[in-house]
Amino acid sequence: MESHEGFGVSVGSMPKAAFSYHGEDDDQIATVLSSDVKPRILLMGLRRSGKSSIQKVVFHKMSPNETLFLESTAKIFKDDVSNNSFINFQIWDIPGQVDFLDTNFDLDMIFGGTGALIFVVDAQDEYIDALTCLHQTVSKAYRVNPQIRFEIFIHKVDGLSDDHKIETQRDISQRANEELHEAGLTDLHLSFYLTSIYDHSIFEAFSKVVQKLIPQLSTLENLLSSYVQNSMVEKAFLFDVVSKIYIATDGSAVDMQSYELCCEMIDVMIDMTCIYGDDESECACEQDSTCIIRLNNSSILYLREITRFLVLVCILRDEAFTKRGIIDYNILCLQKAIHSVFDVRTKLNKPNGVLPVEGMNSIGHLANSTNA
């Protein structure tokens, strides 16, 4: 196994070819060779752009203020978040100072199994270098695996005014796309997001990135739309409890403020459960967790646990909540449907598997509350 020494960084966990691997980590061979490779999200960008902070804040509930104390990442940090989270991905936090053009890295291995590449650009800094690095990284990755989705996070925008944010996004996207065009890579599509760890924008952006990687997304969206229509609910989100990323929502537009309010509600539920819940079980999500918050503007926030990792958060009116029996029955149907959607995934073990017919059938059982 070769290790690359540069900038005093030792990246010891990247074998050039699987067969010349001298084995510290058997798991790695298994994952490289097996067909059941977990989809990978790569976090890349220049040093100090904020990659590790993003990963800690989104998946490890770190407070944004604490990220000031994070040290520079020396090795590629592979975070397997599937234990606590529905999101069955590996997040690879790649140190900013690693030079990928160096041939010591097995680019096929890295980019081959990757679903999404998030490139973080520090909006508060000069981004010329970032753009160059972005172009190099993206071109290389695209050549290895044209299926990768490229997501550009224009990060640390909490310090910028609204006009400045829009201007920065416009500038960065224009330049990036121009460079790609000049290089002849016209089929390469980049998505841009304005993010900051100090508000909910990073969660919203990550939600969109993750949603693109979930093959069952359209099924889930249909289920939620059906549920919303039949229960007179205004908005419904399917959240991953630990990361507060929503993996699906119904067809109506997402209002950032509603999304934030739902995130806050999840926090309330988790914090209260940590204080008064059972010690032995995990703090994250107990069985049958329910949370109802009534607001003074006749709105109600209603949270119901769907699976160990997923919760349904609905926003509805006071009047609609009087038909709670029907709403609860619909949620039961929704829960069964969602369980069967994911059961099919594990049975078939194909990431782009057939959409389950069983899931759609149960929608027929959803009672129509307007007729009740």
Binding site: E264, M265, I293
Partner: protein, 271 residues
């Protein structure tokens, strides 16, 4: 700098943030003294534990006390020994006891209650809760009634919050809970959520959090308080507990009214 806070409906907290600068202090005492110190019910004096000018601090404090003695001799006096986080952990108790002894001595014939505080831990919250607790006129009666209420509805715990600040002003614990800092945590959880609600121009009225081992209810109680009820018997349906809370509300509202009539009309608590 002045600020008015309304607590418990009829307690008006006039917060006078008297700047610490010398010239300011001298000026204040010279020209405004009687005005400031008349009709004071509570004096909260904050000391910086790291201060290098202990003598001067004590001098100003004593000047205040003199003014209190002349104008409002029945005022309650609280001293906060603040910024305790800057003192080494093993030294904190000693340093605090030292200061407390000095202050109690210097304050005679007036009595003062001392607290060690820091914004970085729960001590400030505890101090404010204690101060609030002493400001509530009928707190003993409130506690007895809360205990009866908790007994009747078979609750693990019942907490009473002041509406504006969400400070815990009274609680009854029927089942021991190991987290002694939970009051501050709960206050923070609710305040954080209130803040988020205000961003969408709304405020929350009630909350229910439950799972298969507990149920927590936060409801508006009297016109000045919120109540939180914790039940560990999850077979009891929510509606039952909510009805109990609704019925208790009337009783506690009556208690508050009685107390209001006891106080003089238009009496203001200057702090």
């Amino acid at each position: 700098m002045k600020k008015k806070v309304l607590l418990m409906g009829n307690l008006v907290l006039n917060l006078w943030d008297c700047g610490g600068q010398e010239a300011f202090m001298e000026n204040y005492f010279a020209s405004q003294r009687d005005n400031i110190f008349r009709n004071v019910e509570v004096l909260i004096y904050v000391f910086d534990v790291e201060s290098r000018e202990l003598e001067k601090d004590m001098h100003y404090y004593q000047t205040c006390l003199e003014a209190i003695l002349q104008n409002s001799p029945s005022a309650k006096i609280f001293c906060l020994i603040h910024k305790m986080d800057l003192v080494q952990e093993d030294q904190r108790d000693i340093v605090f006891r030292d200061r407390e002894d000095d202050l109690v001595r210097l304050s005679k014939p007036l009595q003062c209650a001392c607290f060690k505080t820091s914004i970085w831990d729960e001590t400030l919250y505890k101090a404010w809760s204690s101060i609030m607790y002493q400001l509530i006129p009928n707190v003993q009666e409130l506690e007895t009634n809360l205990a009866r209420f908790a007994e009747i509805i078979n609750a693990d715990e019942v907490l009473l919050f002041e509406k504006a600040t969400f400070l815990v002003i009274s609680h009854n614990e029927r089942r021991k809970h190991k987290d002694i800092h939970r009051f501050e945590k709960i206050s923070n959880i609710i305040k954080q959520f209130k803040l988020s609600c205000s961003k969408v121009a709304a405020s929350f009225q009630s909350m229910e959090v439950r799972n298969n081992c507990f149920a927590a209810f936060i409801e508006v109680f009297t016109s000045n308080t919120y109540v939180m009820v914790i039940m560990s018997d999850t077979s009891i349906p929510s509606e039952l507990t909510l009805i109990n809370i609704r019925n208790a509300r009337k009783h506690f509202e009556k208690l508050e009214k009685l107390d209001k009539n006891r106080l003089n009309a238009g009496r203001q608590w200057r702090v």
